[in-house]
Subunit: 364 residues, 2 copies
């Protein structure tokens, strides 16, 4: 039986033939009604990789992990020697992380996987496989699931990851998804939160506050649908996989995290893990421009709004950090201190303590 390369995964087909990983999704929800079986069959069809791609063995096989035993009780992943596995899990729950009346199915699928991919990026790792646990209410349309799954799988393929399994169930209420992403990083090279030292500079990629700005807009005018094109960082956040990998390869980042909870909270995580403090310059924090006509978000949103999925990292004093990398702006916003607090210096040069008010503050 020939080995077949799917993205970056070498898949040894089981003897019984051409079953794809997602075929193993089990009907473990009990009493899965027929319409849901149709939905699951639909996901399978979408997940089934393109035959032409299967034949393409040129997709960076040297850094692949190898997957065997598909269509079984577990997926089997084989890493190249000298690599470690990264594992991250993230819920996407209707009413908590998204709303069906606010978010198109494509956005829900994209954001579901982007959350996990962003965690891999924050370690400087590369994604290998995703596992989707998905519970659906009985009345959900086949079309919704198709759009959700196509968007999720398309983002996975873009980053060289394969949807390699998961679980399905009937949901007691609302759409419930849990995404697991398994990634890989060369042994001992994962960029941790704990590596920041006094004197390091603090950098952030892209712009901040764009995602939370969309949430505020939708909350203030719940009936009006936003155009995802005016708020791309909210509806279709692009995980910074390539940027994270380059920062890790070049040894530029001493500590790193993704801005999923908001700058103030995520920087607090780095400081706590590293046993240090930080000082930020309010004028330097890059603020997203959103809406139509586009306008810059308030400083508070850039400081505390979450779900931007940018990379926040520190760099040793002597290390040169370019202004752009992998097409994304890198902005120097402050530095690490010995003091165990985070200070924010305003335009008048006055420094006040910056409380971690990320995420919770803007969720309701």
């Amino acid at each position: 039986m020939p080995d077949i390369l799917i993205g970056r995964l070498l898949v040894l087909h089981p003897p019984s033939g051409a079953r794809h990983p997602i075929d193993d999704v089990r009907y473990s929800g009990g009493a899965v009604p027929l319409p849901e079986k149709a939905l699951i069959a639909q996901i399978r069809r979408i997940a089934r990789p393109d035959r032409r791609k299967l034949a393409d063995r040129s997709v960076r096989p040297t850094r692949t992990a190898i997957l065997t035993g598909i269509g079984d009780d577990c997926a089997v992943l084989r890493l190249l020697p000298g690599h470690e596995s990264l594992v991250t899990t993230d819920f996407s729950l209707e009413g908590i992380h998204f709303r069906r009346d606010w978010h198109p199915a494509e956005s829900v699928g994209h954001r579901c996987l982007a959350r996990g991919l962003s965690d891999i990026a924050a370690m400087g790792g590369e994604p290998v496989a995703a596992f989707l646990s998905l519970a659906l209410p009985r009345d959900l349309s086949q079309s919704w699931v198709g759009r959700f799954a196509r968007s999720l799988i398309s983002l996975a393929e873009k980053h060289g990851a394969t949807l390699a399994g998961g679980d399905t169930a009937e949901s007691p209420d609302g759409i419930l998804a849990d995404i697991i992403v398994v990634g890989t990083v060369p042994k001992g090279k994962g960029v941790l939160r704990s590596g920041a030292r006094p004197g390091d500079r603090v950098f952030v990629s892209g712009e901040l506050g764009g995602s939370a700005a969309a949430v505020l807009q939708m909350r203030s005018r719940p009936k009006k649908k936003l155009n995802p094109r005016d708020y791309p960082r909210h509806f279709y956040p692009e995980p910074r996989i390539e940027l994270g990998r380059i920062l890790r390869e070049k040894g530029m980042a001493s500590a790193m995290i993704d801005t999923s909870d908001g700058l103030s909270t995520d920087l607090a995580h780095i400081c706590e893990e590293s046993g240090v403090g930080a000082e930020l310059d309010a004028n330097l924090v890059p603020r997203a421009s959103v809406g139509k006509p586009a306008r810059e978000v308030d400083l508070d949103l850039a400081l505390h709004g979450g779900e931007d999925y940018e990379l926040l990292f520190t760099a040793r004093p002597g290390k040169r950090i370019p202004a752009r990398m992998a097409g994304i702006a890198l902005t120097h916003i402050g530095h690490i201190t010995r003091l165990r607090t985070i200070l924010l210096r305003n335009s008048k040069g006055v420094a006040d303590e910056l409380q971690p008010r990320g995420w919770e503050h803007f969720r309701r």
Copy 2:
């Protein structure tokens, strides 16, 4: 910094000190109310491993995987050379997989993890790490979560696995858990569903139907609480990790699956993956004895009732299979055929087709 052995995981403490994996559980549900933060803190305390165990380096270090980078965006797992990773995910949703009025918190926690461990057992693998995504309703008591978590973590420790991270969220409705178990198996040695050949004998461990019998009882008398001691296979199923490992090590199983969906459905999975059929002898199927006074379950329950988490496996004609292994009875119940159907031979010697009616049939 000394390396510290937790169970079978070698944990390299991060520079900032003594944080445990579960400390990394992120408040990503948004607006996690204070009582829930207390609950999460409680899980952390329970998950924090015993100092004495930390010092015990004698726990089979030769088959450990190595975990580093704890307290970060991802968990980092390092396998021993010559090993592959196994990954499995399973939902446990209130109202679908359990009911708070039927199942004690301890049973819910135990069953949640047992589902994942049983998938690892079915590959002949050994569990390494578990990740728990847990969404809780606002009104859930601290005591419930404590009992749930203690039971789950105690089962993990019993099988040498560490709760290594996860996600938390506020639930829109009911308790929602998704368990991810990562295991390990020597390269190429995982026992697949696809290895059965005509002439192989079919075996099952333990007894069947005991779990479904509890569900039927509870459904018929919803107000009456069952005594878990009278239905242990339903409330506290023991995953057959040791048995699966020995079967794999001794090369006894040509194909294997766990009986999570019910014998008829799980055997159909093996047959489908292997491109074969099977014939079972109704008289040989081992039926569980449940209740007080104990009585044997009906044949239908043994054939179609799910969630027994026994091991169903096939063995080549010449292979000697003992009557007991790892303390568990192994029963020869039939054989694999070329014909692509599953037949059940009754006591009169008449064979009828056995439809896969597992799981769904008994769920509602």
